[in-house]
C-alpha cells in the first residue's frame, strides 16, 4: 500500500516564479490494483507520480510505502528502492538510440550486478511474453511505436518490481495499441503488482482493467471514481 499524508510540492520556493504543484494531498493507494491519476495538463499528475516513485522529494508531508516511510530516506536508500520496487513507463519512451532493444531493456538491472547470462535469459523471457523476441537484437530506431512501447514495458519489468508507474503511457499510441497496453497492464494485477497510471486519455481511465480513478485538478484531489 502507498500512503500519502499531506504531501505538498513547491517548485522555486521563495522566488518570484514559485509554483505550488501539489497542495497537501492525502490519499491511500491499494496494492495489487490499477489506479489512475486523471486530470488535465498541469494538474500535478506527473509530479505526484515522481514523488511516489522517489524521483523527487516533497516540500512537506510524508509518503509511506508498505508501512515504511520513504521521504526521509537518504539518497542511497532511495536509489535502492527505486531500483527494486518501481518500474517506470514514461510518456516519451526514453530508450537509448544506437543500442539494441535487449540492451535497453537490461539497462536498469546492470547496477545490481547480476550475472549477464541469467539477466539476458530473464530479459528474453519477457521479450517472448510480449511477442517481440524477434526484435530483441534490433536497434531502437528501427522499431515501430508499438514495439518501442513494449520494450519500455520489458525494461520496467526487468527488476521484477512490485509497483509499475506509467506516465501518460498511451500518449504516442493509436487506439489498438492503447487497448493492447491496457490489457498488458491489467495482467499485472494477476501477478500481484500495483499499477499507477497518470493519464487524461479516456482509453485509459475508462478501461475495464482500472479499479480506481483519482481526479486531480490544480494540484488537489478533486473527487474520485471507483
Amino acid at each position: 500500500m502507498i500512503e500519502l499524508n499531506n504531501v505538498r510540492k513547491v517548485f522555486n520556493a521563495g522566488k518570484p516564479n514559485e509554483f505550488v504543484a501539489i497542495h497537501g494531498v492525502s490519499v491511500s493507494i491499494d496494492a495489487n490494483r490499477v489506479t489512475v491519476l486523471k486530470g488535465p495538463s498541469g494538474s500535478g499528475k506527473t509530479t505526484l507520480l515522481s514523488l511516489i516513485g522517489c524521483m523527487t522529494r516533497p516540500t512537506s508531508g510524508r509518503i509511506k510505502l508498505s508501512e515504511r516511510e520513504i521521504t526521509s530516506l537518504p539518497e542511497r536508500f532511495l536509489t535502492e528502492i527505486r531500483r527494486k520496487t518501481f518500474g517506470f513507463i514514461f510518456q516519451q519512451f526514453n530508450l537509448i538510440k544506437g543500442v539494441t532493444a535487449l540492451e535497453n531493456a537490461m539497462l536498469p538491472a546492470y547496477p545490481i550486478g547480476e550475472k549477464h547470462i541469467s539477466l539476458k535469459k530473464r530479459a528474453m523471457n519477457l521479450f517472448d511474453l510480449f511477442n517481440i523476441s524477434q526484435k530483441a537484437y534490433s536497434k531502437i530506431e528501427w522499431l515501430s511505436g508499438g514495439e518501442a512501447q513494449r520494450v519500455t514495458i520489458v525494461r520496467a519489468l526487468i527488476n521484477n518490481p512490485s509497483i509499475i508507474i506509467a506516465d501518460e503511457p498511451t500518449a504516442h499510441l493509436d487506439t489498438k495499441l492503447s487497448q493492447e497496453l491496457m490489457e498488458i497492464l491489467g495482467r499485472f494485477k494477476e501477478e500481484e503488482k500495483t499499477v499507477l497510471i497518470a493519464s487524461h486519455d479516456p482509453m485509459v481511465y475508462e478501461s475495464d482493467v482500472v479499479d480506481r480513478v483519482i481526479n486531480l485538478r490544480d494540484g488537489k484531489i478533486d473527487g474520485e471514481t471507483a
Partner: protein
C-alpha cells in the same frame, strides 16, 4: 615567513575547515532542538536535506583535518632552520608560547575528527538517521576546539621572530629540563619496554578476539587509549633513543627528519590510526542494538578492530625492527 607555501596551505585549510564547522554547528543546534523524524513539516524536510549535504562536506573537511596535523609538524620542522638553537620541530615550536598548545590541540582534534568520521559513517548506514543527534553533539564539542586551534596556529605563525634564540630538543627533552615531559624521557628503559610490549600485546589480542567473536569492545577501546599513552611515553623513553643511537637524545620530533628516513611519519600515523580505530570500536558499542544499525555496526566494528590491530602491529614492527637490527645497546642506561 607566513608566505611559506605550507603555512599558507595550513591557513587556508584551517579557515575553510573552521568556517564549515561553524556553519555545520549552526545547523547542528537546530537539529538538536527541532529534529523530529515523525514530522513531515517543511522545516524537518529541509533539515533532512541539509544534514545530508553538511555531513558529506564535513567528512571531506575532517579528512583534511587528519592530514593537517602532519602538515603542521612538517611545516614547523622545515622552519627550524630560521631560528638559532633549533635543531628540529621541537625547538621551532618553542619559539613562542603558541607552538606547543597548537600542536596538542591539533592532536586532540585529530582524534576527535577521527571519532566523528566513524560516527558519521555508522550513521549513514542507517535509513532513519539513528545517530544524528549524537553526531551533531560531538560536532558542537569539536567546533570551539577547532576555532581555538586556528587562533593558536595563527598566533604561532604570526608571532614567529627570526631573531629569537630558542632551545634545542636536546635540552627540552633532557633530565635537566625538569618538566613533566622531560621526566618521562628519563624513565628507566627496561621496565618501559616491558610495559610497552605488554600493552601492545594485550591490545592486539583484544583486537583479534573482537574481530573473531565480536565481544570485548569496551576492553579494546580502553586498551587502545592506554596503548597510545604508553607508546608516547615509550617514544620519549627508549624508542627515540634507538633511532638516534644516542642514549641522551629523547626527542620525539627528530625522527620526522630526512636523516632518519622520515620514519616518524609512518610511526605516528600507525599509532594515531590504531588508536582512533580501536577507541572507535567502543564508541559504537551502545549503538549495536539500534534496529537500523544492527547489521552495519557489528560489521564496521570488526573492520575497525582489525584495522586497529594491524596498525598497532605495524607501529610495533617498525620499532622492533630498529631495536633488533641496530648495533646500539641501550640496556643498563
Amino acid at each position: 615567513m607566513i608566505f611559506h607555501p605550507t603555512i599558507l596551505a595550513l591557513y587556508i585549510s584551517s579557515i575553510l575547515i573552521t568556517f564549515m564547522v561553524l556553519y555545520a554547528a549552526f545547523y547542528g543546534v537546530q537539529i538538536l532542538r527541532r529534529w523530529n523524524l515523525a514530522s513531515g513539516s517543511e522545516d524537518q524536510l529541509i533539515l533532512e536535506r541539509k544534514t545530508y549535504l553538511i555531513s558529506t562536506l564535513l567528512a571531506y573537511l575532517f579528512g583534511f583535518e587528519l592530514l593537517s596535523l602532519f602538515l603542521y609538524v612538517f611545516t614547523v620542522d622545515r622552519l627550524h632552520t630560521f631560528f638559532v638553537g633549533a635543531m628540529c620541530a621541537a625547538g621551532a615550536l618553542y619559539v613562542n608560547s603558541y607552538g606547543y598548545p597548537a600542536l596538542i590541540l591539533k592532536v586532540v582534534n585529530f582524534l576527535l575528527a577521527g571519532f566523528w568520521l566513524i560516527l558519521n559513517y555508522a550513521d549513514n548506514q542507517g535509513y532513519d538517521y539513528p545517530l544524528i543527534k549524537k553526531k551533531y553533539s560531538l560536532l558542537l564539542l569539536i567546533a570551539p576546539l577547532l576555532l581555538t586551534e586556528v587562533i593558536l596556529q595563527a598566533n604561532y605563525f604570526l608571532r614567529l621572530k627570526p631573531d629569537i634564540i630558542t632551545s634545542c630538543c636536546g635540552s627540552l627533552f633532557s633530565k635537566e629540563a625538569h618538566t613533566f615531559v622531560s621526566e618521562m624521557s628519563v624513565l628507566p628503559s627496561h621496565p618501559t619496554e616491558i610495559v610497552f610490549y605488554l600493552s601492545i600485546g594485550f591490545t592486539a589480542i583484544s583486537g583479534l578476539y573482537f574481530y573473531r567473536r565480536g565481544k570485548g569492545g569496551y576492553l579494546l577501546s580502553s586498551l587502545s587509549g592506554i596503548t597510545l599513552l604508553v607508546s608516547v611515553v615509550s617514544i620519549l623513553s627508549f624508542i627515540s633513543v634507538y633511532f638516534y643511537e644516542l642514549p641522551t637524545h629523547h626527542c620525539p620530533f627528530c625522527i620526522l627528519q630526512r636523516e632518519y628516513g622520515y620514519v616518524g611519519y609512518p610511526l605516528y600515523m600507525a599509532l594515531l590510526g590504531g588508536t582512533i580505530s580501536g577507541v572507535g570500536v567502543g564508541l559504537l558499542m551502545p549503538f549495536r542494538k539500534i534496529k537500523s544499525l544492527s547489521e552495519a555496526v557489528p560489521s564496521l566494528q570488526r573492520r575497525l578492530a582489525l584495522a586497529s590491530t594491524i596498525l598497532f602491529l605495524i607501529f610495533t614492527a617498525i620499532v622492533t625492527y630498529r631495536m633488533v637490527f641496530t648495533d646500539f645497546v641501550l640496556e643498563g642506561i
